[in-house]
């Protein structure tokens, strides 16, 4: 049963190869591969829930020499989110790209991007993480430049340059760690690492590199053009999955590798940058002219929330409140993933039907498609963090954690951020109340609207009410996992 780890990576990869060889059946291959990926993830989660974190030694060699894959609560939950969003986006894309010639190039790149994501989420070897980061970066850039128009290609160029700089920073960190501690495996390094010049510099470089890739505040300027000009299914994947995978790595590094010995002043810096990202991202989203630019800046803000959460977790002593904070962080990340992908998919529907996504002239389209508007509203609620949504519980834990550490400023920033978020979300939803004629059909493009709505419902109802089992699953597997090896 342990092969589920490898299957999660192989299914999309093989799907990608088939899509290259037989372009005509690329759409069906895409949907089937993502469905297979969801099934494999479910098997993996059951496996991790029953017998704790799983280690898979690729090629049978011991973790020092060979490469090992590691799946614990954190990675398997991220994986399940990735798989579910991938399935919804694939169903959406098979209808979105039906007429366009881009269909030919979209599917192989999309499926290889998915295999890069699962490889990254399961990686437990530093250089292997570097290779998956590159695979992810290059496929994301290729997908961003898919429609070949000038703004998209310019955005892709800037995205590539910064992505490469981020990877170089990460590789420099890996080089230093290998030079100092002679191993690439996360678990062995965790036992060997001590505070010193090498580990400090490596931590700084790797975190800086990954911060570029997560588009944290000062280095966020490449994200809005890239996510706003990419085709809708691509920008949904970029915002919900790709940026979050880079954050997952920062989390993994600081929780398992650097966390104990090195946190010190770093958490205050991360907290400050996160707070700045929240305010700046929300402020720019408020000024955005186009819906997709608004969504992109909202991603910048949400990444800010995650980094604030990380700063709090690093300051907390190991114990129950810290485990709850990590679970809260996960809930916020998952909820943002589902909500943001639903938001982008709905924007894509509006853009395809209306020809543009300028917020001021949205009234006609928004009122003509009740299901799309309903999805936008649900996704908006989850992005703000209003009740019945996973983000609400995440925000609750975030403010609780801030108060636990008597960090009033961060708590107020979080509140201000969510008020700004409600300002820019309801600026869009306000368009839904003109008096243009009521539409005859409730569902206009089923194949596109249903996946988007399902994602929005997951973000709000499922994560809002039924997220009970996530907490014990996370607390057991994240904390106990690392010490064992």
């Amino acid at each position: 049963m342990i092969d589920a780890l490898i299957w999660v990576i192989l299914i999309p990869l093989l799907g990608g190869l088939v899509a290259v060889l037989f372009p005509r059946i690329a759409g069906i291959t895409g949907i089937l591969s993502t469905a297979g990926m969801v099934f494999a993830c479910l098997v993996l989660i059951k496996l991790v829930a029953d017998s704790g974190p799983q280690v898979y030694l690729v090629g049978g060699w011991s973790a020092g020499l060979g490469i090992s894959l590691y799946a614990d609560g954190l990675s398997s939950l991220f994986l399940l989110m990735t798989a579910m969003i991938a399935l919804a986006v694939s169903i959406y894309a098979s209808s979105y790209f039906r007429q366009s010639h881009l269909r030919l190039h979209y599917w192989p790149l999309w499926l290889l991007l998915l295999s890069a994501l699962s490889a990254l989420l399961l990686a437990s070897d530093l250089f292997n993480i570097y290779v998956t980061l590159e695979l992810l970066g290059i496929s994301a850039v290729a997908l961003t430049a898919l429609d070949g128009k000038r703004p998209a290609v310019e955005a892709a160029v800037r995205y590539l340059v910064l992505g490469l700089l981020g990877s170089l920073g990460f590789l420099a960190g890996v080089a230093l760690l290998y030079a100092a501690y002679g191993s690439l495996d996360l678990a062995t390094l965790a036992t060997r690492i001590q505070p010193g010049a090498a580990s400090w510099a490596a931590a700084a470089l790797m975190t800086a590199g990954l911060m570029i890739k997560t588009a944290l505040f000062p280095m966020h300027f490449w994200l809005p053009p890239a996510h706003a000009n990419a085709p809708a299914p691509v920008s949904a994947a970029l915002s919900a999955l790709v940026v979050k995978a880079a954050f997952y790595l920062v989390l993994r590094l600081w929780l398992d590798l650097f966390g104990v010995s090195l946190s010190g002043g770093v958490s205050t810096l991360i907290g400050l940058l996160g707070a700045a990202a929240v305010l700046w991202g929300s402020w720019c989203a408020l000024q955005a002219e186009r819906l997709k630019v608004l969504a992109a800046y909202s991603t910048v803000a949400q990444i800010g929330y995650l980094f604030i959460f990380l700063a709090l977790i690093l300051e907390m002593p190991v114990g129950i409140p810290r485990d709850e904070a990590i679970a809260g962080l996960m809930l916020m990340a998952l909820s943002h993933g589902f909500a943001k992908s639903a938001f982008f998919l709905s924007t894509g529907i509006i853009q395809q039907r209306q020809g543009h996504d300028r917020i001021k002239e949205l009234a006609g389209a928004v009122q003509g498609m009740p299901v799309t508007t309903f999805t936008l509203a649900l996704a908006g609620i989850a992005l703000i963090g209003l009740p019945i949504s996973g983000a609400f519980l995440g925000k609750w834990q975030l403010i609780d954690g801030a108060l636990y550490l008597h960090d009033w400023l961060l708590a107020l920033v979080v509140l201000a951020g969510s008020l700004l978020a409600s300002a820019y979300i309801f600026r869009v939803l306000g368009q839904a109340f003109g008096n243009s004629p009521y539409p005859t059909k409730v569902l206009s493009i089923g194949m596109q609207e249903i996946p988007a709505m399902v994602l929005a419902l997951i973000a709000t109802l499922v994560l809002g009410l039924a997220s009970g089992p996530i907490w014990p699953f996370l607390e057991v597997t994240v904390m106990s996992g690392r010490a064992g090896m």
Binding site: A142, L160, L171, A172, Y178
Partner: protein, 95 residues
């Protein structure tokens, strides 16, 4: 043995940081691609210098494999960058 590692390692660091400066500054895109390649070469130098075990013994093969993979990855990124740059200068005929 240590002095050789030290000199080449520090040379690698110098190359990396200098190339990073050029890559970060606002210059023509192809020049930034060059800078990224040189920065990568600098890093590989740090890797391989750490693997050097002196004249007599064979060097540590793991960094060699890593650097080989690194070179191929760097090439792929550069190829894509150049294709993107070319697409910017001359949008293809069929648009």
């Amino acid at each position: 043995m240590l002095s050789v590692q030290m000199i080449y390692g520090l040379a690698g660091v110098l190359l990396f940081t200098f190339a990073l400066r050029v890559a970060l500054s606002q210059v023509a895109f192809l020049r930034r691609v060059l800078a990224i390649n040189v920065a990568g070469a600098g890093l590989f130098l740090v890797f391989i210098s750490a693997a050097y075990k002196g004249a007599g013994q064979p060097a540590d093969p793991v960094p060699h494999a890593l650097v080989l993979t690194g070179i191929v990855v760097a090439f792929s990124a550069t190829a894509l960058a150049i294709a993107l740059a070319r697409r910017l200068h001359r949008p293809s005929d069929d648009d």
